[in-house]
């Protein structure tokens, strides 16, 4: 679909970006120590840190991705919400306090605190960089994808705008400015999603919202010709001849018989009314011939009951094959274990003063992130029946839903979508910068750095990572990015979690065991992903059947593999002398 450029969205976004960059320069005007740059002096208040956790964690994948997935496929998107939040339980109950107690600047500090092993430093710094870069790609591509329809700028402009802004934020004041950007973003995101949810409930459900009965139920065909021209039903695409927006209610529950609208509904009544309604969604089918690539979007009536149970996106759950079920279980395991292994989340524990503050900030994070994920259900379902969805882009569900209320809200939600990217990318660049300067340069290569040089080294690394992020954001622009976030979670969980958990709970753990577990976890999960059916189909364009691994998500195999490797290698290596006294 083609979109109107919103000057208000540009204005709001510009004000936000200029404000946070101004704030960063203000915070960075004083000379900075390494402790300040990498860990905000350990002086961030636990409440601010808790909200910043939300700003760090709730990436574009969470906000736009989950809303879009619920709007397109129903309940399955909510399963992602449940998994993403459950990971925080691991963070709070198992990881938060030990990480704070054992480390100083980075995750490698904690894993290496007992051993002073070059192998651990190299393996953990590499896994931090790999996970950060895999997580950066979808964020940057998402920024580019959003900027075209919303601000009328080319994809590259979006990538460069985010890359330059974030690099400036990180370089000016490191973790201090990163924390405040994430705090502001986290607060705005949850507040405005709350406002939008209240408006959705207040509007209730409306039959055939935004549409014209009778016209709706015809399929439409979009063609992309070999010369790049786009046709809709055989005519050139234009603002007056475009795909119709989709997603409406065909009929309300019997208790509203004869009514065109339910009127305002409570949170539970809204869900139960959707379940008893008949909803018009759509299917898309692609085929290619000499005239180009044709995609047919056909309306299809579905019962609310079907949409509010699993199986819309994870189709394998309904077909019932074992490998599909294992694939789903593996994804849910990776989401559960991945959160507490993400480097940009872990470094946030060094910004508070002690373990109690680490614990309290995680509880605040769980409250805010949990509230947000409950809201995603309403935003997604609200978008599903708003009559405003673009069948070609699930990422646009939340902004388009906002547009059905007012252009101002659309502008605000669009601007927040960009700031979502800013907050997460700054955290990732900060984590990568610490891995390069602190773990690799200073600790692994043993290059002596003064406090001032260490900060400068981190800033140079941040600029380098900013450039890498921009290049990858442009290079991967046509890439299907949704499962890159899944890659990052799988790699993080497979490489980092076994080492951290065993270090905390098994005294026999050795440095060789940790190095081997991190390396094997990282390499095995990456290899599995590259050989999976999803990658064969979506990346290489090959047949799914040619894949040589039984299911696409590696976590179910590679996370236990990390534990097994650690145990075996630890038994084969000398008992750690430092830890037995």
């Amino acid at each position: 679909m083609l979109y109107e450029t919103s000057p208000l969205a540009i204005a709001i976004f510009s004000v936000f970006v200029l404000s946070v960059i101004g704030l960063s320069f203000f915070l960075g005007r004083k000379g900075q120590s390494a402790q300040g740059y990498y860990a905000a002096h350990g002086e961030i208040h636990w409440f601010v840190n808790g909200i910043a956790f939300a700003g760090d964690y709730l990436s574009a994948a969470s906000f736009l991705g989950i809303c879009g997935m619920i709007a397109f496929y129903g309940y399955d998107g909510f399963l992602y919400s449940i998994g993403f939040l459950a990971g925080w339980v691991v963070a709070l109950f198992v990881i938060a306090e030990p990480i704070k107690r054992l480390g100083k600047f980075t995750f490698a500090d904690a894993l290496d605190s007992q051993f002073n092993s070059p192998g651990i430093k190299l393996a953990v710094a590499t896994s931090t960089l790999v996970v950060s870069i895999f997580y950066l790609i979808p964020q940057m591509v998402g920024a580019g994808d959003l900027i075209s329809p919303l601000l009328g700028l080319p994809h590259t402009a979006g990538v460069v705008l985010v890359g330059v802004s974030v690099t400036l934020i990180v370089v000016t004041a490191g973790m201090v400015s990163t924390t405040w950007v994430q705090f502001i973003k986290g607060s705005l995101l949850v507040f405005f999603c709350g406002v939008l949810t209240v408006m959705i409930l207040n509007r209730g459900l409306i039959v055939n919202a935004g549409g014209d009965a009778g016209v709706e139920l015809k399929p439409q065909v979009k063609t992309i010709c070999p010369d790049g021209m786009r046709l809709i039903d055989g005519e050139p695409q234009s603002k007056t001849h475009d795909l119709r927006p989709v997603g409406t209610i065909k009929s309300l529950p019997a208790r509203y018989a004869g009514q065109a609208s339910t009127g305002p509904l409570g949170p539970l009544a809204y869900l139960s009314a959707i379940e008893d309604s008949t909803i018009v969604t759509w299917t898309s089918k692609k085929h290619t011939d000499v005239q180009g690539v044709h995609t047919t979007y056909s309306p299809v009536e579905r019962s609310g009951k079907d949409l509010l149970k699993p199986g819309g996106y994870f189709k394998g759950l309904t077909t019932g094959t074992l490998s599909d079920k294992l694939d789903f279980a593996s994804l849910m395991l990776a989401l559960f274990c991945g959160t507490a292994s993400l480097p940009h989340i872990l470094i946030r524990y060094y910004t508070v003063k002690d373990q109690a503050a680490a614990r309290k900030s995680t509880v605040v994070g769980i409250a805010v992130i949990g509230a947000f994920y409950v809201l995603t259900l309403y935003l997604g379902l609200g978008a599903m029946v708003s009559g405003a969805l673009d069948p070609t882009s699930s990422n646009m569900a939340a902004p388009l839903l906002a547009k059905t209320f007012s252009t101002t809200l659309f502008a605000i939600i669009s601007a927040i979508a960009f700031t979502t990217v800013l907050g997460t990318v700054s955290g990732l660049i900060m984590a990568g910068s610490g891995a390069v300067a602190h773990d690799l340069v200073e600790n692994y290569f043993q290059i002596p750095l003064s406090d001032h040089e260490k900060v400068r080294c981190g800033k140079i690394a941040a600029v380098g990572l900013g450039i890498v992020a921009m290049v990858l954001g442009v290079a991967f622009r046509n890439f299907n990015v949704s499962f890159l976030v899944g890659w990052a979670f799988n790699i993080a969980a497979s490489a980092n979690l076994p080492a951290l958990v065993m270090l905390l709970f098994w005294p026999r753990t050795t440095k060789q065991g940790i190095t081997a577990a991190v390396s094997v976890g990282m390499v095995s999960s990456l290899t599995w992903i590259l050989l999976s059916a999803d990658t064969f189909e979506k990346v290489y364009g090959w047949s799914r059947e040619a894949s040589i691994v039984p299911f696409s998500q590696p976590g179910l195999v590679t996370i236990p593999l990390g534990f097994v490797v650690l145990i075996v290698v630890s038994f084969l290596s000398p008992r750690p002398t430092q830890r037995t006294g």
């Binding site: 939040l85 709070l92 480390g103 539970l268 379940e275 309904t318 309290k360 905390l504 830890r579």
Partner: protein, 102 residues
């Protein structure tokens, strides 16, 4: 940086054990939903509480349970850390830590 033993109970008085118990409780709840999705999906369409179906109720319940257990953990940690036995343990842990470095 601390070089103390990470699993030294004196350095994390009681809170680690409480955390593990709550963690196991949550794992069982989470695994319960995945188990139902995989093996008894028909249950998810039932409406055990009259209003919303089990899929939504369980999902919302898991999000609520994470917050509830987090609050329980925070209160329990405060009680454990505030107890005289814990203060004594923490203080002797500090001595041990110093000896370890020496």
């Amino acid at each position: 940086m601390s070089h103390a033993k990470p699993n030294d109970p004196n350095l994390s008085p009681g809170s680690a054990r409480i955390g593990l118990v709550l963690f196991v409780m949550y794992v069982l709840l989470y695994a319960g939903l995945i188990g139902i999705v995989l093996f008894r999906p028909e249950l998810l369409s039932t409406r055990p509480f009259g209003g919303v179906n089990l899929a939504i109720a369980y999902g919302m319940g898991l999000i609520g349970a994470a917050f509830l257990l987090a609050i329980v953990y925070m209160i329990a940690c405060r009680m454990v850390e505030g107890s005289p036995a814990s203060r004594q343990a923490a203080s002797s842990g500090g001595v041990r830590k110093k000896q370890h470095r020496d």
